[in-house]
Amino acid sequence: MTDHSVVLDQVSLVHGDGDETITALDSVGLEVDRGEIVAIVGPSGAGKSSLLAVAGGLLRPTSGTVRIGGVDLAGLNRRRLTELRRTRIGFVFQTNNLVPALNAVDQLRLPLTFGKVENPREPRKLLEEVGMEHKAKRRGHQLSGGERQRIGIARALVTRPQVLLVDEPTAALDRQRSQDIVALLAHETRAQGVATIMVTHDHDVLHHCDRVHEMIDGKLATPVSR
């Protein structure tokens, strides 16, 4: 384990659902190092998104430890958690999560307006790197699903995060575009030395990943074959 990785140690997340309690995460342990892309697969409701939420500081675990770049999230108040998400974590969401009013290059500038970011990447250059420089002035509704996802990936990388948390990036894409998007994610992960956790249902893209874990009923299984 290095400082530049994400570490989940014995993480459990239990929440209420009416009269019942649901264990969304059950003693989950996961370490992801810099330059490594790890896929989490599993059926709906298995706890994949809960894992991303806990790793990204959006939910506090019921028990266990989450560390991002060596920082224990349990010791951070809400303001510091927000700051940590801004500076150390990049989120890639499902396809339609661009801000409708902004064009492509402004989508990348957006996270830089939230507060101070050390040594951010230049939005136009980054746009070029993800092959979208020719669509810099287009807004989300003027782009295809694959193009929107490329913008989303670039937006997540503009702050030079240590951790990239990716939620179903190919959910609305055809087979070829899915391959292209996950290949781009894997390339950026290795090129930028980011620790990437990707939640996906899409088994066809798993060969781009360094490890694949299956999640069932909140439990994370040991790496499975790709």
Binding site: A53, G56, T82, F91
Partner: protein, 357 residues
């Protein structure tokens, strides 16, 4: 939403113009007098002071001796119907004054009152209705003939009627219904409506006690103009409701907008936007939208108002009231927006991750 705010701004400009127009029509004759207060008959009601007050002019001397009073002069008021020798019908609010007193009006055309009993100086608005210098107005109630010797430079109206200044003695005869050839009792020439007082720091209650009168400052006396209080309070009520409606409309719009932006806001929160950033961002958006919409609305309202100003409707566009109305619209709109965007605090960044957590 922008169009709704613009429409409200148009309505506000028009209401403001109507309000100022009604005030001008109602009391511009009083506003443009130099008097700082009027002393009326002691037991007369405030809302009918100008029409019902009658008392002896000896109170003028008492008032002139009061501390702080620079000048005091008798003042008479009566509403009459008249017709010129060129067959122009004209209603007049006759202001009876002593031509040498501080109440004497300045004229823009013709000459001022010289003291001759049949002279009258009329409002600029009466001239716009076709009455001119040299015309002779016959007062229908008494048959008295008044020669127009001058026209004032601005609108001077009282209770929506054009003001005509005339010598106090002539006014006293007309008020008493004296016709040519009638024997005029001496007491007629003792009666006045009010004592007009000029003085910056006058103890009005003390003066009233000494003179047996009831004083109103000039501004308070506006309420004694026929219909003034009813008209202005109605318009103020409408304006108040319009402000409240604008706050509600803007608040409702931003509530809907915030709900529509819930996903976008949750994404920004997940990406590291603080609550303060999101609130500031939303309020700036609200302000830009409000200012732009209000600017369009005020512009359209001014254009429409300029057209209305040329009609007989009492309407006047003045920068002050329009600025107050616009700022009020913006402030209340921002209050509505602020209440609405507080919902941002409750937007959960988890929403950005979809429903499968």
């Amino acid at each position: 939403m922008g169009s709704v705010v613009a429409l409200i701004a148009i309505l506000m400009v028009l209401l403001s113009g109507l309000s100022v127009g009604l005030v001008n029509d109602g009391v511009s004759g009083l506003q443009r007098m130099k008097a700082t207060s009027f002393a009326f008959q002691e037991d007369v009601g405030k809302d009918a002071a100008f029409s019902r007050s009658v008392f002896d002019r000896e109170a003028v001397g008492v008032w002139a001796e009061q501390d702080g009073v620079e000048q005091a002069a008798p003042f008479g008021n009566a509403l009459v119907n008249g017709k010129t020798d060129r067959d122009v019908d004209i209603d007049l609010a006759l202001f009876g004054i002593e031509p040498e007193s501080f109440l004497a009006p300045e004229v823009a055309q013709g000459t001022a009152l010289s003291g001759a009993p049949d002279e009258v100086v009329i409002s600029a608005t009466a001239a716009e209705e076709g009455v001119d210098v040299g015309d002779v107005i016959t007062v229908e109630q008494t048959g008295a003939e008044l020669r127009v010797v001058g026209v004032m430079g601005e609108q001077h109206t009282f209770g929506h009627v054009d003001v005509g200044y005339l010598p106090l003695r002539t006014w006293q005869e007309i008020r008493a219904g004296v016709r040519e050839g009638d024997q005029v009792p001496d007491r007629v020439y003792e009666e006045i409506t009010a004592v007009a007082v000029l003085g910056a720091d006058v103890d009005l209650p003390a003066g009233d006690r000494a003179a047996g009168t009831k004083s109103l400052t000039t501004e308070e006396s506006f309420g004694a103009s026929p219909g003034y209080t009813a008209e202005t309070s109605t318009l103020k009520l409408i304006q108040g409701f319009l402000y409240a409606i604008s706050a509600l409309v803007v608040g409702a719009f931003f509530t809907v907008l915030t709900i529509q932006r819930k996903q976008e806001i949750s994404v920004m929160r997940a990406l590291g936007a603080s609550t303060a950033y999101l609130l500031r961002d939303s309020l700036i958006q609200s302000l830009i939208l409000l200012v732009a919409s209000a600017a369009v609305g005020v512009g359209a309202g001014l254009a429409l108002g300029a057209a209305v100003s040329t009609t007989a409707m009492p309407f006047a566009l003045e920068a002050g009231p329009i600025a107050v109305a616009t700022v009020s619209l913006l402030v209340l709109g921002m209050v509505g927006a602020a209440v609405a965007v507080v919902r941002i605090v409750r937007v959960d960044p988890l929403t950005a991750l979809g429903e499968n957590r």
